[in-house]
């Protein structure tokens, strides 16, 4: 324990002696309190800041003319369905021109959609991945697929609204897979 040595004070003939009682202070309660506070602050402090994922959405075009037509060879569509299911197809879906692509099912594992996307982007660097989420899909699925885009290093991707034609395509694919 910390102690303070008291020096002999009086020197008037040595008759008056300073009381040489122990000046030790019991520091245990203070130490207790110190550690209590320490524990409290360690527990309450939030050292880890939350992680964020940056996402840039395209500016909404004012009219259709500003939009560029996407070439079918550069299109790759990922469909997010219910029950954490995921489907994809290559090319564009144009029912009025009778072009209906083959929808394939994939999964969220490393050998699933990640492999498909990374191979497709390697084969064609101009590939644009269109992400279309269905109403039955969850927010988690959206974050996961955006995360896959960053893992595979895909530069060109967009979150697009699911239109009716794609919704029917997804419904048939969901039924066919079961």
């Amino acid at each position: 324990m910390a102690e303070i040595q008291q020096q002999g004070g009086g020197d008037e003939g040595g008759k008056k002696r300073a009381k040489k009682g122990s000046t030790k202070v019991d520091m245990t309660p203070m130490v207790d309190l110190g550690f209590l506070l320490l524990t409290f602050f360690v527990m309450t402090t939030t050292l880890a800041k939350p992680q964020i994922m940056e996402i840039n959405m395209p500016v909404k075009p004012k009219d259709r003319q500003e939009q560029n037509e996407l070439k079918a060879s550069n299109a790759f569509t990922v469909l997010l369905g219910g029950d954490n299911r995921i489907f994809y197809y290559r090319g564009l879906h144009q029912p009025n021109m009778n072009i209906i692509p083959d929808v394939e099912e994939s999964d969220w594992s490393a050998k699933g959609i990640r492999k498909v996307v990374s191979e497709a982007t390697k084969a064609n660097p101009n590939l644009v991945v269109l992400i279309k989420a269905d109403e039955t899909s969850k927010y988690k699925n959206l974050v996961d697929i955006l995360d896959e885009m960053s893992i595979t290093g895909t530069q060109k991707y967009a979150v697009v609204e699911l239109d009716n034609a794609d919704a029917t395509l997804l419904r048939t694919a969901e039924k066919g897979g079961q």
């Binding site: 110190g34 402090t45 939350p50 959405m57």
Partner: protein, 200 residues
């Protein structure tokens, strides 16, 4: 054989360095700790491999709960004071100074603007008990869009972050993103949990 005499010294230990260290740590944690504001809405964020840290200040947080309620939180007090003035201007609701102060100390809230005044008049204990219905996001009463816009007018440096629950449905999340796009917020952040990046 001589008797072994136990060495009778005082068992007291010099604790000074330990105490010094303890108080040093206390001071350290006291200075760096920033108390997390109490969250009304419990949100379990999905995990992602992103390693970008959230900025310290000037964040507008849009929380989407499991039950599809949408809450809004603005972290800076001065921004919130400016924001409530703009709300009362736009919606024609007069707020008293105590109500403004309550609003400035609010972490996040999820009440429609029509109920905001009566909500702010409650005591903090009663505010916790109130089941907040969430901010309307439908196209008829797009209050979230207005609030985000007002918050950004109040502090142009602020960035928008979406804190969605894993289980929240895509329609709500998509609607929130659409509202942000309508208000020309095309760059925003999704708050996620940490996940180890896969090696390949």
């Amino acid at each position: 054989m001589p008797k072994v005499k136990p060495h009778r010294s005082s068992p007291s230990l010099d604790m000074t360095p330990m105490v010094d260290l303890a108080f040093l740590l206390v001071t350290f944690f006291m200075l760096i700790s920033k108390f997390a504001p109490e969250e009304v809405l419990v949100v379990d964020t999905p995990s992602a491999t992103s390693e970008i840290k959230a900025p310290d200040a000037n964040i507008i947080t849009i929380s989407i709960g499991n039950d599809e309620r949408v809450f809004l939180g603005v972290d800076d007090k001065a921004t919130k004071l400016r924001m409530i003035d703009k709300i009362s201007e736009k919606y024609g609701v007069g707020f008293t100074q105590p109500e403004k102060d309550v609003f400035a100390s609010l972490g996040s809230f999820g009440v429609p603007i029509s109920q905001l005044k009566s909500f702010l008049a409650l005591s903090p204990e009663d505010q916790k008990k109130v089941n907040q219905p969430g901010i309307p996001i439908d196209s008829v009463r797009n209050e979230l869009g207005d609030l985000v816009q007002l918050a950004r007018y109040s502090n142009p440096q602020s960035i928008v972050a979406i804190k969605g629950d894993q289980g929240a449905g895509y329609p709500v999340a998509g609607r929130v993103i659409e509202i942000l796009q309508d208000k020309n917020v095309n760059r925003f952040n999704l708050i996620t949990d940490m996940e180890v990046k896969p090696r390949n």
